[in-house]
């Protein structure tokens, strides 16, 4: 019973780790994406740089994903 409860809590934690980091990345990408499109509108040569800034917030989700994988498979 206790083992089942622990497994359930781990699953909830893993879900929260991915879900909340996803939300954070979404909020960050909203602003970064809008700014990137604004910059490209003024100067199309900035596309490459804007793309790099655009994907930076994605790293937050990767951190969340790593934590959730560790939670599920290592703990």
């Amino acid at each position: 019973m206790a083992a089942a409860e622990a497994a359930g809590l781990i699953a909830v934690g893993a879900g929260l780790a991915v879900g909340l980091t996803g939300l954070g990345a979404g909020i960050a990408e909203g602003n970064v994406g809008a700014a990137a499109v604004g910059a490209i509108t003024e100067d199309a040569s900035l596309f490459g740089k804007a793309m790099i800034f655009m994907v930076l917030p994605e790293t937050i989700v990767i951190f969340g994903l790593v934590i959730s994988i560790l939670a599920i498979f290592v703990m």
Partner: protein, 352 residues
């Protein structure tokens, strides 16, 4: 949440565009170079600095000084329209309320043009379609014959209701000044109303506009005083809503018979010590120098607030103030060069 963010405005997008545009503005060294050029050389120089499209569009119609003046105003109108088009939500509300001054400018030009019997094309040449009323709508206003029709049409377009006493005052005196003064006051009233002071950046913007009202009032008071007008006549032009110059203080300044008599009270103003005092010469009062000093104050105020909140209306307003200054500076340089003014004199008239 999404509805709220649309209502709030697309700051990231608009501010980035504005910052990109700001990086192309002319710098002090550009003006130093331009002062040493002739008018055609200045035209070529600014063509390479972002005015190329407007210069090319208008080159068939105008030349020399006229081309430069029309192209700079047209460029400013295009840039402001692109900012207005890019902004959404409360940002768009504030930007359009700020740009309403150009609608009012255009209406004044049309009214004056009609009353002096100018042709439609003659009036059109002096318009700056940088506000929310576009060129097609302005053409419609120009096509109307009487002042009454123009005012009625503008009331509909700009959602303005001219009070009966303003209209009757105008009809009695035949003086368009009554309507123009009302429009100036209305613009600031509507601009103040468009800013909701619930966030720190909008509070700062509100204070900036209130300071702007102060300098407009101060400019009017000093100009009239230098022409020997004081007292109640000056108060007719007073715009309410300022930060430091309330109606009581304005009355105090207005009642002083000369600029030197008002200087003591003026020293209470933020703008006085650092900006006006150094250029104030009571024996040989130069209103142009004072106006330039006041412009510099406005620009510095805009600069100060621009970096406080990057994702807010403040950088947008800062850019628009700087763009207006740039256009003014280009015209000052070109006119100065055209009329053979000395380099130092021209430089003294610039706001950098």
């Amino acid at each position: 949440m999404f509805k709220r963010s649309v209502r709030k405005g697309n700051y990231a997008y608009t501010v980035t565009r504005v910052k990109a545009k700001k990086s192309h503005l002319l710098r002090e060294e550009d003006y130093d170079k331009m002062i040493q050029m002739s008018v055609p050389e200045i035209s070529r120089y600014i063509s390479e600095a972002g005015y190329q499209k407007e210069m090319a569009d208008l080159a068939g119609k105008y030349e020399g000084m006229e081309l430069l003046e029309h192209a700079t105003y047209q460029n400013m109108a295009n840039v402001f329209n692109s900012i207005l088009g890019a902004s959404q939500g409360e940002l768009a509300t504030m930007v359009s309320a700020y740009l309403e001054k150009w609608d009012i400018w255009n209406l004044k030009v049309i009214l004056r043009g009609k009353s002096y019997g100018l042709t439609g094309n003659g009036i059109k040449e002096d318009l700056v379609p940088a506000g929310k009323i576009d060129e097609a709508a302005l053409d419609k206003l120009i096509s109307l014959e009487s002042i009454d029709d123009i005012l009625n049409e503008y009331s509909r377009m700009g959602k303005v209701k001219f009070p009966a006493d303003v209209i009757s005052d105008y009809k009695e005196s035949g003086n368009l000044g009554v309507i123009e003064d009302y429009l100036d006051k209305l613009h600031y009233q509507r601009l103040l109303d468009s800013i909701s002071p619930y966030t720190q950046p909008t509070k700062i913007f509100l204070d900036y506009i209130r300071r702007d009202i102060d300098v407009v009032n101060l400019r009017t008071i000093m100009k009239l005083k230098s022409e020997g007008i004081y007292g109640e006549k000056v108060m007719k032009y007073y715009i309410p809503g300022g930060m430091q110059i309330d109606s009581k203080f304005a009355q105090l300044l207005a009642n002083a018979e000369t600029v030197s008599a008002a200087a003591g009270d003026m020293s209470r103003l933020d703008v006085f010590e650092e900006y006006i005092k150094p250029v104030l010469d009571f024996d040989n009062y130069d209103n142009k120098a004072v106006v330039s000093a006041i412009k510099k104050y406005q620009e510095d105020q805009a600069k100060k607030m621009a970096h406080m909140y990057p994702l807010s209306v403040l950088p947008v307003i800062d850019f628009m103030v700087h763009k207006e200054t740039e256009v003014r500076n280009i015209r000052v340089v070109a006119r100065g060069v055209n009329s053979g003014l000395g380099r130092e004199t021209i430089k003294g008239l610039l706001v950098i």
